[in-house]
Subunit: 347 residues, 2 copies
Amino acid sequence: MKPTVHDIAARAGVSLATVDRVLNRRVGVRAATRDRVEAAIGALGYSRDVAAANLAKGRIYPLTFILPTNDNSFMRDLKTQVEQAAVRSATERTRIGIVEVPAFDVPALCDALDAVLADRPFGVAFVAIDAPEISERADRLAEAGIAMVTLVSDLSGSARDHYAGIDNIAAGRTAASLLGRFLNGRSGSIAVLSGSMLVRDHRERLEGFEAVLAGEFRHLRVLPVLEGRDDPIVAETVLAGAFAANRDIVGVYSLGAGNRGLVRALKARAGAKVAVIAHELTDTTRAALGEGVIDAVLNQDAGHEVRSAIRVLKAKADGLAVIAAQERIRLDIFLRDNLPEAGTMGE
Amino acid sequence: MKPTVHDIAARAGVSLATVDRVLNRRVGVRAATRDRVEAAIGALGYSRDVAAANLAKGRIYPLTFILPTNDNSFMRDLKTQVEQAAVRSATERTRIGIVEVPAFDVPALCDALDAVLADRPFGVAFVAIDAPEISERADRLAEAGIAMVTLVSDLSGSARDHYAGIDNIAAGRTAASLLGRFLNGRSGSIAVLSGSMLVRDHRERLEGFEAVLAGEFRHLRVLPVLEGRDDPIVAETVLAGAFAANRDIVGVYSLGAGNRGLVRALKARAGAKVAVIAHELTDTTRAALGEGVIDAVLNQDAGHEVRSAIRVLKAKADGLAVIAAQERIRLDIFLRDNLPEAGTMGE
DNA sequence: CTGAAAGCGCTTACAG
DNA sequence: CTGAAAGCGCTTACAG
């Protein structure tokens, strides 16, 4: 049988309360007593039953998610996933708060993080903007002992405990590699549509993309990056402008959101088919993949990211380890041929 | 506050024992009493605390995994993942038994399933061979109330509760689509290396592969399928034979295991580079991807499959729902550009 | 058919 | 600095 606190208490000749004090590193135990208890723990090979501990503590985990209010499918999905996790709160012993802030808005995100600091939940997850003011807030949250996970986009050199998102450099490299192979020798210009160069995920995708094109596909020329603000209307406008100004565009890499605008601009354009790689599987990109308007979609699973963030924050609060492999967020590659049924996405 | 059994008991004017009887559908409760308790449950919006119930029950879940003893990296990885899950048994309240059987051996798998039936664990997970004898065993296990998950390869029209594996038709389609695009107009023959046509996963991959080639890439001709028994030595021999007999091979789809043999045969072959798609990211395929010997690897995550099987079996035992999206096993596509760091694979 | 009491493995006031 | 007792939400003999 697995040893319990009773076994430790008996072996060390102390009460349950003292065992509990040692187990939870609480102060006010004589060194000699502590040593006896620790010896018993070691000898018995004790490991705590976390479920029983949580039951006794009546522990619930207050967690805050800060999400940007972009009008794009991916962010809406992310929010839906957090809401669904909130529905599971009862069984998972969490209490999940959602705070919405305008997208790409550093002061607004700072304010939200300050509010978290005042509120002191167990943990916070947020889509980072890569700015020094944000890193500074992250440091303060870490000092306050609040567990912290960046979601989707990471924060450079910060005190966050974990990043729940894909490897964006690899995503950019993959996009370039697929585009280069699909174009197969054709030369010309490549349009890159981003959301904003303020966020690290978009910058990293661009970096990986340009590195592979420069290394392996020198006949493809990358045009200056377009910023669509992850907004369909803006995206359509800037992309249509690029098509008008550059008649030799043979490929497009849409590395941000706002793909409804991308698809409209592609359909409005006359001339030979361009090869297109986009991010995030949504109703829009799924349909475009089916029609052959988009050739491949790189995807991150919002549901997995949210569940992973929650697992990591809870584990941090309990001082427990996570299964590292389970928390790795995959880069999904979808072609027309491996589309999952709608509504079955997930970890 | 979340209502508890005490609240129900008070409201229905009965004891805890009676509440428990109703909650767990045990016999021996008068209909009128049952109705009162159920009314209270409904009015209060009660939901059971499963962790507390398991603590009280001292519940552990005996689970059996039946794995084939092939000498290939994927199956070794699968076994390692089950062993790691066994290490987590203490915290997950499982007791995991592993049974090994020779690969592609119907009588051996039948014996193993009969042994499970005699042993009566809560649940069993096994790599299915698609044969009527196996389906018959599955039916008996289902009748005995043993939860059942097929792993990696499914069992047609059987009573299994769940299949923890990828969509193999989509995998085959994806392989064809990538191969066709990478070859980009070149015509010639395609060699297909399978493990065995006895298992459904290999048959389905072939089916999807042939469908897309026939539909979209008519200039590529599929040679008769080679059976490598998922064994490197056999795979190398049959593939080398195919290369010798067919000088016009321009592509290879290795849809089973034994890729050490595939790589040896490819390296030994003179002539123009062939496009190659293989399955499962292992040390061998990872290295071959880096060297450009293999162009893309389709992968299933053994760790995810094992964790998912365990979650599903436990949920079945508890009569609980799973998060469907979390149990969907993804088809991973790896190019040279999106290889995860070694040792970080997983859900 | 029903209930009182003890117990699962832990934690928490409270008393000393 | 340490311990006895009660309790978290549920289940299980046992008695009636």
